[in-house]
Symmetry: C2
């Protein structure tokens, strides 16, 4: 900020010199009080300098009596879940009014470590939306699978003072916090006084107190109002999450009222491209909270000002003089139809995105698994028992259930039982570390033939493949390796649908629209194999996450989450 | 924070090891939701580690079913107005539940410059209460009087990163902001992104927008609800002030509701020792806001959590795990009777104050005026007019009025007119800079004899003296110089009551109680001279402040505030 610029801001605010941009003729919603005022909004550079009055400026934007609200802030998400680069995410989500996102590059960090965080920070310095980064606190997320990287405190400290960094990302290893794990304690100590993001599903009573005593202040994992109310009472801000997999909005809507609205914010966590395309982003959460009967200005306050305050972004969150010019113009408030977006004083138009300096893609050689053969998937007969454990998936849940089956054994080992919907599953370590392959059985997919493979596999992102035949499993995996990562559906000995995700095996080089189209084709191809899950790839992506009950598959073997140990 | 300590905090919070201190058996008020919960409060070191549960600890404090609320935060004050050192202020105000104060050492800085700020910071590092400092932005406050120091941006930058410093103190020179004064702009530029405290009485419309465009975010000068509501709507936090002179609480109480309570805080600005002794401090504001009908938890929220958030003190403001252990135990909530105070985990008892490391007093030779003679106060006949301008004071107002009188002239110049309550006033430069003496007449004091002198004279703190006779004015001033500053009442050629304020002519070396006793004697002595003002010293202290309408007296002469120029 130069003295000349600050002086011009002051004088333009006072009406003595023209502003750079004036949004004429809007109805400004005060998200604190709910008042609506007819006004112009004067902007100089990236800052609002005048409201509640009428202004002249070098450039006029006709507000047409639309509503003006502060830009929305997504307080917790993994951009990787959009399957596109931060640049494409920027281009497609900013028009939904999301002017700031606070991301945790947890997925790419599990593959690439510091290089992944650096990539996100470099993108964040160039996108039109303001991308802020919390530093991934739990890489690897668990010791029960093989990740591509480890991030210790020394790795995080290199990034702590970066201007785009807010603090430490979701501390999901709450058992480690409570046990006083030295590596975790070191990270918590280093971020005392800064923001430490929480992640504490179902944690309650004194265990929750212990977790909070570490200085953790937010939670996006509450799934019931009762859980959220205990957390609020203990000083946690609640980030109401509505992602593609985890959908907590309906259950949590009731906690948002006049008293709590400064303490509640919104987040998406993981939202896939098809949902963004079909439903929107935070705009969708806003309209649904309003539909749930929440008061208009409390909802918009949570989506903007409260989020900014909770995360220490003191420069934004209100449409008021002196605040960052992040403004959404809406045709109506109830349905949150975002018509125009102004961010950092700029009207969002396609040329803004075209003018961004490119950042080279990273992690293009991250798929280090060796090609496999059908025989790779042979599962020897279980000598100790007739009953074989089977992972059961249910539509829309990342929770799995423990089932079992009596399976036939041939010279190709234990066989799947397609009539009873028991297929094979394997997880193949792909970071070039140990070549582990875990193999087992799953049910609930409905597959009658073919195979589905994914290099998105939370949180270590090894290759997960499910299939009716060993041959198609091998085809799917080998094609996926050729693509440098992605999604593949194979049938009859060939790949019939695919999406390459060559950036760390997580993100596409294609446009958001092209990715969405390919996802439609992949989904249709999976349905063609008999798949009965509405979102097969989302569910495959969570089969390897050994912190979600009850039975999971990692590259190290079948994992019983309830016993917190591998099935022997 | 060591890893060992953080681990102990976590484990004590989880109930696995004993806490250091447990407050047993309290009713905890949730200042966000208003809920009241019966609980223990567990503390390790300076941090709350457990609430909403029952705990064991090395030391138990019996809560006796009293109410527990967060420690109060005074968001804007000048400790100098208490007339005692920060140490004595600490000892006497902390027991009122005020665990944090955010002070602006504006008065001492006008006398001693950087040395005054350094003294406050050194005290702040040793007091039991947490004293935070905003750096005085306007020294001198105006060019119309002679101050003892100037603070330019280079002087402030030396202190900006001190751990006790929050940001830039009240930017009272709003005309300078709006005019783009380069010295002021330099200060504002240097604190962009940090806290910049506001001070904008009656500023409205586009002029207010211009002021806010500079990044200023708080105001403690609103005197009507209408004024406060405009400021709130433009993103300013409102600090409801209730001082000894400026009393805005009754007018502003109505703005505090569920929507705004996160945005409203409390302050005292200037509160004299007698008011602290007789009425209390923020506890008094709290009970009066409740008496005005405000909702209990909104009032306590404004006094604690909202204040903390507004000023970026993210470690405090709630009684919840992970927060600083600043806790007040109250017999009841309605009357805010503070029974016990815990600050930084320590129960406040006299030994805490006794254990503080002393800080040497500063400014002990700041009274650099030369002794005066009665003839010093001779006012030559005004050759141009029969009518002589007279400053009229009214009880309880720092505003003055322009009156005039036809006065007799003798060989001792123009004479006072005691029958018509016209006495003399003089302001004597005392910083050793130019020896200026301004002389004029005042009415409204009721003095029939004697004189009253004060080295507290906002904002430059020259010597202000009013008197019925030149002889007693000289006696009062000379005794005040001998004392190194203070208050003196003279009568019949001798000083009859006095209080030495040798620290920069502003603060006593005595105990709070001794100061209060001497103030009583001084007030009685002034009444004995015929003085009809209830608070003569408060009113003398504001006679030299040339930014308050309408007619003021500085060392440079009689100043017409409405014309913003000296009376020729």
């Amino acid at each position: 900020m130069t003295p000349e610029l600050l002086t011009r801001m002051i004088k333009a605010g006072a009406g003595e010199v023209p502003a750079d941009v004036v949004i004429k003729n809007v109805r400004l919603l005060d998200v604190i009080t709910g008042a609506i005022t007819h006004t112009d909004i004067a902007i100089v550079a990236d800052r609002i300098v005048g409201t509640h009055g009428y202004y002249n400026g070098a450039r006029l934007i006709e507000g047409d009596n639309r509503f003006a609200v502060p830009g929305f802030i997504d307080t917790h998400l993994h951009i990787e879940s959009s399957l596109v680069t931060p640049y494409e995410f920027d281009r497609c989500v900013l028009p939904h009014g999301v002017t700031t996102v606070i991301c945790d590059p947890h997925e790419i960090a599990n593959v690439l470590g510091s290089d992944g965080i650096r990539y996100f920070l470099e993108c964040a310095e160039r996108t039109v939306m303001d991308i802020r980064v919390n530093l991934s606190s739990c890489v690897p997320a668990t010791p029960f699978e093989t990740s591509g990287a480890r991030l210790e405190i020394a790795d995080l400290l290199k990034f702590r003072d970066h201007p785009k960094v807010i603090g430490l990302a979701e501390m999901m290893n709450f058992p480690g916090v409570l046990a006083g794990d030295p590596g975790i304690i070191a990270k918590l100590v280093a971020f005392q006084g800064a923001h430490i993001d929480g992640h504490a599903p179902l944690l309650t009573d004194l265990a929750l107190n212990g977790y909070l005593a570490a200085g953790i202040r937010t939670d996006h994992e509450a799934t019931t109002a009762t859980e959220a109310r205990e957390k609020l009472a203990k000083g946690m801000a609640i980030l109401i999450r509505e992602g593609s997999v985890s959908k907590d909005l309906d259950a949590l809507a009731e906690i948002l009222d006049a008293n709590t609205s400064a303490y509640v914010a919104l987040c998406t966590d993981d939202r896939n491209p098809l949902d963004i395309l079909e439903e929107g982003h935070l705009d969708s959460s806003i309209r649904r909270l309003i539909a749930c009967g929440r008061t208009l200005h409390h909802v918009y306050r949570a989506a903007s000002h409260s989020a900014a305050r909770i995360f220490g972004l003191t420069d934004r969150g209100l449409v008021a003089p002196g605040y960052r010019a992040d403004i959404n113009l809406l045709g109506d408030l109830e349905h949150c139809q975002v018509a125009d977006v102004i961010t950092g004083g700029r009207l969002v138009t396609p040329d803004l995105f075209e003018a961004r300096q490119p950042v080279p893609a990273v992690g293009l050689a991250s798929m280090k698994a060796k090609p496999v053969k059908p025989a790779t998937f042979i599962i020897p007969a279980n000598p100790r028992q007739n009953e074989t454990p089977v992972i059961e998936v249910r539509p829309g849940l990342i929770l799995t259930y423990r089932a079992s089956a009596v399976l036939e054994v041939s010279d190709r080992g234990t066989l799947p039982d397609l009539e009873n919907d028991v297929i094979k599953i394997a997880v193949i370590e792909r970071h070039g570390i140990n070549g582990n392959i875990g193999r087992s059985f799953a049910k609930g997919f409905g597959l009658k033939r073919g195979a589905i493979a994914s290099s998105v596999g939370h949180d270590s992102h090894n290759i997960t493949v499910v299939g009716a035949t060993d041959e198609d499993m091998a085809v799917a995996v080998n094609r996926l390796i050729e693509l440098g990562g992605g999604f593949v559906v194979a049938d009859g000995g060939k790949a019939i649908a695919e999406l390459a995700l060559p950036i760390a095996g997580l993100m596409s080089l294609l446009s958001f629209e092209a990715v969405a189209e390919k996802l439609h084709r992949l989904r249709d191809a999976a349905y063609g194999l008999g798949c009965t899950l509405p979102e097969p790839f989302l569910q495959v992506a969570f089969l390897a996450l050994p912190v979600i009950p009850h039975l999971k598959m990692t590259d190290r073997g079948l994992f019983d989450v309830d016993r917190f140990d591998f099935v022997k």
